[in-house]
């Protein structure tokens, strides 16, 4: 008998990547998303198309949809037989999404880019079967126009690797790791060798006005900053963590190739969204710069990325108020209250001293490209 999997969040990862890991002969796929247009389309057609990049070519896949709901339509009592539930809703929405499945005692797997979302979800759902996962993949939330013309839900994804904290009883194309292995060998490199330079590429891409990450990387000065940031983190990771150096070097090369890949159509707006979250104290930008500084490395290129995040302006972004706060607050109070830095610590001093100069440099880069 087929088992059911719930995918809460039918965006890039939830729609474009996770279902590819499971056999439709073994599992029924049920989707929940707050976007009614996605849900209606899934219901109307009973399936959608997604494209996986393999060996520099697109591979077309049809994903059958057993059922699809908006959160308002979702009835918990109808899904007590599900084998597992995957969340890919964004770290800020985990708590709300967890409340929706409170009482459902099935494995909950979070691929949310922030390990602390696991504890947050546990406290809401009231059980311990909550697991962290690291999808080592870039999945766009869109596709080239020719694919969208065929199916507006089409998405392009890489042929990635999914790592899940061991525990859930599931069969699919992924690897189970212990929590220590997952955090040490997968999460740390992903955070600093993928997330850090990836979002820097996106912020610089936004500044120069391109749509996709690969377009940003095709600009030599942007590429140089992203590679520079990668090297700063690579050096830091080699010094700080006991992760084999050849693995880290392979990982860094793999990531740069991904960012430059012309088949992925990875939107700048998707990768750059929610800059406040990406500027979190222990995260991919501020946290990365802090690690470098603690090891005696001046993170000049990561500083350019931080500045790019501060300059990011998208009227539709939930963090659009960041630009307002930057305008109304002095540099030192912004560093203290918004970035969470201690007055006089190295990163605070560096930012106060250099940010105007970096802004000028990035703005001239933007003009040059224009």
């Amino acid at each position: 008998m087929k088992r059911k999997i719930l995918f809460v969040g039918a965006g890039a990862i939830g729609r474009g990547y996770l279902p590819l890991l499971f056999s439709p002969q073994m599992y029924d796929f049920v989707f929940v998303d707050s976007n009614p247009r996605i849900i209606e389309r899934m219901r109307d057609t009973g399936s959608y198309t997604t494209f996986r990049v393999r060996k520099d070519q697109y591979e077309e896949k049809t994903i059958p949809v057993a059922a699809a709901f908006t959160p308002d339509q979702f009835r918990l009592s109808e899904h007590t037989d599900a084998a597992a539930c995957f969340f890919s809703v964004g770290p800020r929405n985990v708590s709300r999404a967890a409340a929706m499945i409170k009482g459902l005692k099935i494995p909950l797997i979070l691929s949310e880019n922030e390990p602390n979302t696991v504890d947050m979800a546990k406290s809401v759902v009231g059980h311990e079967q909550v697991y962290f996962a690291v999808p080592d993949v870039i999945t766009s939330n869109t596709a080239p126009q020719k694919f969208l013309d065929k199916d507006p839900l089409a998405i392009v994804t890489e042929d990635g690797v999914m790592f899940i904290e061991e525990g859930p009883n599931l069969t699919g194309d992924f690897k189970f790791l212990t929590r220590d292995q997952l955090l040490g060998m997968q999460w740390t490199p992903k955070l600093y060798l993928h997330n850090t330079p990836h979002c820097i590429a996106a912020y610089l891409g936004a500044l120069v006005g391109v749509t996709y990450v690969h377009e940003a990387m095709s600009i030599p000065k942007v590429d140089a900053i992203v590679v520079g940031a990668m090297m700063e983190m690579l050096k830091s990771l080699k010094m700080k963590w006991e992760i084999p150096h050849d693995f880290l070097e392979w990982y860094a090369e793999k990531e740069l190739a991904r960012f430059r890949c012309k088949l992925l159509f990875d939107p700048v707006a998707r990768v750059a969204r929610e800059p406040m979250r990406k500027l979190g104290l222990h995260g991919r930008l501020i946290g990365a710069a802090q690690i470098c500084l603690a090891l005696g490395i001046i993170p000049q290129n990561i500083l350019a990325g931080i500045t790019g995040a501060l300059l990011f302006e998208d009227q539709n972004d939930p963090d659009h108020h960041l630009a307002f706060l930057r305008r109304v607050m002095s540099k030192d109070s912004f560093n203290t209250y918004i970035l969470g830095l201690r007055t006089g610590e190295p990163l605070d001093l560096l930012l106060c001293e250099q940010i105007d100069m970096i802004i000028e440099r990035l703005q001239s880069l933007s003009k040059e490209v224009a």
Binding site: M276, P318, H320, H321, F324, S333
Partner: protein
């Protein structure tokens, strides 16, 4: 994104942050003066912050009322008049004693409509503010109060203890005890705006206060409303003062019921 009250929020942020900076720079021994009771104290830092805030906020053209310079005659609550309400340091006793629960609080009100709020807790490195009617931020990150039940709730109260009014005093302590018994506990942190901001952020599930001066709570109430808290406010007998309950729906309802039963609040208080 269209930010309502953009100019006012800008001024309120400047005033609160500057107030926080003044509070943090004061490493000299404080000049503490007792006002109406041993618990009611003021320092030269309060005065300095208030002057600084007034100097910034007058740019808006609205009148500014500050705790330390309020004479009682200069202004009455008026539904048609916008006015700034400033508490230079809410929780001066904590400030004097080196505790971190004190705040610089700036609110823009129109009668009992709380429109703009900024509260700075400098020692905790926290700044709360509103961005229009339905957005509240803590250190730039959006706040959304998660409503919980009384048994899941931690509450904080603010009340004077009414030294000169034994009946009122007994009622307030009874209420405090009842809330303490029916929840995970009732705290008295010594700063009403801190209580309310912690509630907006979901660290506490409710905050309440009796006869709170408007400057203690105006900024924080605007933040709580924008964060989605249930907020009940009613003018109290004392001038320029309110009774308030804010927080999770069912916890606010429970406290309100207890207040009404104690005769501390009328049934017809405003809900926002």
């Amino acid at each position: 994104m269209n930010i309502q009250w953009q100019d006012e929020t800008r001024l309120a942020l400047r005033a609160a942050i500057e107030g926080g900076r003044i509070a943090m720079k004061s490493d000299a021994p404080l000049d503490v003066q007792v006002k109406e009771s041993a618990r009611d104290v003021v320092t030269s830092i309060d005065m300095e912050i208030e002057q600084s805030a007034i100097a910034i906020l007058v740019e808006s053209g609205y009148p500014v009322i500050g705790e330390e310079t309020f004479s009682g005659k200069q202004f009455a609550l008026d539904d048609r008049q916008l006015c700034w309400v400033v508490d230079a340091i809410d929780g001066t006793a904590n400030f004097v004693n080196g505790l971190e629960y004190f705040a610089v609080s700036i609110g823009l009100c129109q009668g009992l409509n709380f429109l703009v709020g900024t509260v700075c807790l400098p020692r905790l490195q926290q700044i709360y503010c509103t961005l229009g009617a339905d957005r509240a931020l803590l250190n730039g990150r959006p706040l959304c109060h998660e409503h919980r039940t009384p048994s899941e709730s931690l509450v904080a109260g603010s009340f004077s203890g009414s030294v000169g009014n034994p009946k009122q005093r007994a009622k307030q302590y009874t209420l405090f005890g009842q809330i303490n018994d029916q929840t995970r506990g009732c705290l008295r942190l010594g700063s009403a705006s801190t209580n309310i901001c912690f509630t907006a952020a979901g660290r506490l599930q409710a905050a309440y206060g009796m006869n709170a001066k408007l400057w203690d709570v105006a900024g924080a109430l605007a933040i709580a409303i924008a964060a989605g808290c249930d907020v009940q406010v009613t003018p109290s007998d004392a001038p320029f003062s309110v009774n308030y309950i804010v927080g999770s729906r069912s916890v606010v309802a429970m406290i309100r019921e207890l207040c009404v039963a104690q005769g501390l609040m009328e049934e017809s208080c405003q809900t926002r």
